[in-house]
């Protein structure tokens, strides 16, 4: 176990009549970043608020910095919570907002002012202390809220959808401020988001919240290459599911027979997933697959093809994108094959 940081064990929370969250266990080490992803309404925010002590929990423990805070009120937990749109106290100046936690602790005034200045400089707003919150732009307010949170010297920073309320152009500004502050002050950082790209970009590990419990906690690369279950794979937006079975080391399905990738133990009836970027289309007049349509995305172009009655999304080279109705050959990279038990 790590020293410091956040350890959540066996957390159970009811939300009114709904089933709520159960058996939630995970940890975030000091200076680590963990992102909880889940559909809207899955209880991500409730989880954060429970860690902060703003929502009562039924069962389980919350340990912050090796202190059991399960029974403590929010102000004694050492975990600062920021709303999706954090609010600055409108009756205080920017500097007074950042000084809020320091003044509560009666830190000497000279030190308070020095610290406020350091933090405002760290978020790129060195001259903003005397300003009123309402004179700031959205991204600036967000950065002040981060500085105010870090001023409390929390063990854990809890961020609810930290970037999703911001214009895309402001996200980088706030993300840079956030990562800079974390690098300097090393709190454990737990954020929730519905945006997988944001999670992958910001977090060391991603925790997938499905049906009220954590389905998988893994670093982004591992999560995207080796989802634990079909439910997680579908949540991640993976396409190209093909039912089949494993027999003597090979996965047999309507597209053919492929060797089971190394390091995977699988047997019996399974669902195979061929990631979109593990299938290439190669134009070929005598090809075995027909192009149904072309999908253009910012990240690249893919084509929808059909072979042996199976529809697949495949990657197309930008230089030679086939047209609908043409025939192509498929080149499949079997080492990227994902094999998962079917959902009953």
């Amino acid at each position: 176990m790590t020293t410091g940081g956040l350890v959540v064990g066996g957390l159970e929370i009811g939300f009114g009549d709904a089933p709520g969250l159960r058996a939630i266990s995970f940890s975030v080490a000091r200076a680590e970043r963990v992102a909880v992803v889940g559909a809207s309404g899955s209880g991500k925010t409730t989880l954060l608020r429970a860690v902060a002590g703003l929502v009562p929990i039924h069962r389980g423990t919350v340990v912050v910095g090796s202190r059991d805070v399960t029974r403590l009120p929010p102000e004694l937990r050492g975990a600062v919570y920021l709303h999706q749109s954090p609010v600055l106290f409108p009756h205080l100046t920017v500097g007074e907002n950042v000084a809020f936690a320091l003044r509560l602790r009666r830190v000497p005034e000279r030190e308070t002012l020095k610290r406020v200045q350091e933090l405002l400089t760290a978020v790129g707003l060195p001259d903003f202390a005397p300003r009123a919150p309402r004179s700031l732009s959205g991204g600036q307010r967000h950065r002040v809220a981060l500085a105010r949170a870090v001023a409390a010297a929390p063990e854990v920073l809890l961020l609810d959808e930290p970037l999703s309320a911001l214009d895309p152009t402001l996200r980088d500004e706030v993300r840079v401020a956030l990562l800079g502050l974390q690098a300097e002050y090393s709190p454990a950082l737990l954020l929730v988001t519905h945006d997988l790209d944001e999670a992958a970009l910001m977090a060391d590990r991603i925790a997938v919240l499905l049906n009220g419990t954590l389905a998988q906690v893994a670093p982004p690369a591992e999560l995207f290459q080796r989802p634990d279950s079909l439910a997680v794979a579908r949540f991640l937006g993976m396409r190209n599911e093909i039912p089949g079975r494993v027999r003597s080391g090979r996965f047999e399905c309507a597209l053919g027979s492929f060797p089971v990738p190394a390091g995977i133990s699988a047997a019996g009836e399974l669902v195979g997933i061929i990631p979109v970027d593990a299938v290439d289309v190669v134009p070929s007049p005598s090809g075995s697959a027909r192009v149904l349509g072309v999908i253009h995305r910012v990240q690249g172009t893919s084509v929808l093809v059909s072979r042996n009655g199976v529809e697949l999304e495949a990657r197309a080279a930008a230089s030679s994108t086939p047209k609908a109705g043409e025939t192509v050959d498929l080149r499949i990279y079997p080492e990227r094959l994902i094999l998962l038990p079917a959902i009953a």
Binding site: E75, L76, R77, V80, Y81, L82, V87, P90, R105, A152
Partner: protein, 262 residues
């Protein structure tokens, strides 16, 4: 055509709001004013000179009413804020019941309330006293201001308070450093409203004060009933001025202090 009509309507609205105060001003100095002259033929300043010289009951009544109004506004706000907050924290039918209960003192006709309370106030030795009338004025005031705070606090954004908690503030610190400062404009408005409820009150003062509590409205009422129109107009103008000043001040102070969302 449309803009002409709008101009006419605006004229009517502005005139109907402003003319009455001119009428009061003229009425308060009107000497001989025979029908059908539109303005008085003689000016008589005695209502004002006598009042300034302490020769009418208007001056002392003004001070008395100011004191009563300020006390009602301040005490009413102090009671209504926690009551309103407690009701706003209720849910479902309980909140409706709580709001309905504090609506009672607002909806009950003051004359009916006063008749029911006069002898009760006498029996506890408060009849005809400043304190008794103050308590009587506090009845509709606390009801009205509680409703006012229920309205504000039921839609109150708790995010600032939540964040203050996790930043290390205990509930008392959240109250004194976040909630009350953020509510300051509403608290000022509530105190002003409480002042106004007391300032214009007639029936409760009449009944609980038993004619011994000389507020400005009662003196004006007396001047009207005895046909002394000049003095009644002067008194009415005195009654109108503080509320208008308060309205003006509220407009100036209306730099909205809302929650600043990030």
């Amino acid at each position: 055509m449309r803009s002409r009509l709008r101009l006419l309507m605006a004229g009517v609205v502005i005139l109907s709001a402003a003319l009455p105060f001119a009428v009061l001003a003229v009425g308060s100095v009107a000497g001989e004013w025979r029908w059908p002259a539109l303005v008085p033929s003689a000016i008589e300043g005695d209502a004002w000179t006598a009042t300034l010289a302490g020769g009418t009951r208007l001056g002392p009544a003004l001070l008395y009413s100011l004191a009563l109004g300020l006390a009602t506004g301040v005490l009413g706000t102090c009671v209504a804020l926690p009551v309103g907050r407690a009701i706003a924290e209720l849910h479902g039918w309980r909140r409706h019941l709580g709001a309905g209960m504090v609506f009672l003192p607002v909806a009950a006709p003051p004359i009916a309330l006063g008749t029911g309370l006069q002898l009760t106030s006498l029996s506890v030795g408060l009849g005809g006293t400043f304190q008794g009338v103050l308590l009587a004025h506090l009845i509709p005031t606390t009801g009205y201001l509680s409703l006012f705070f229920v309205g504000i606090l039921s839609v109150w954004d708790r995010r600032a308070e939540d964040e203050a908690r996790t930043l290390g503030a205990n509930p008392r610190q959240v109250l004194t450093r976040v909630t009350l400062p953020m509510l300051r404009p509403s608290i000022a408005a509530a105190a002003a409203l409480g002042f106004l409820i007391s300032w214009g009150q007639v029936p409760l003062t009449l009944l609980v004060g038993r004619g011994r509590v000389p507020t400005l409205p009662l003196e004006v009422f007396g001047y009207v009933q005895s046909g002394q129109e000049r003095f009644a107009a002067a008194g009415a103008l005195l009654l109108a001025l503080p509320p208008l000043l308060a309205l003006g001040a509220a407009r100036l102070a209306a730099r909205d202090v809302d929650v600043v969302p990030v």
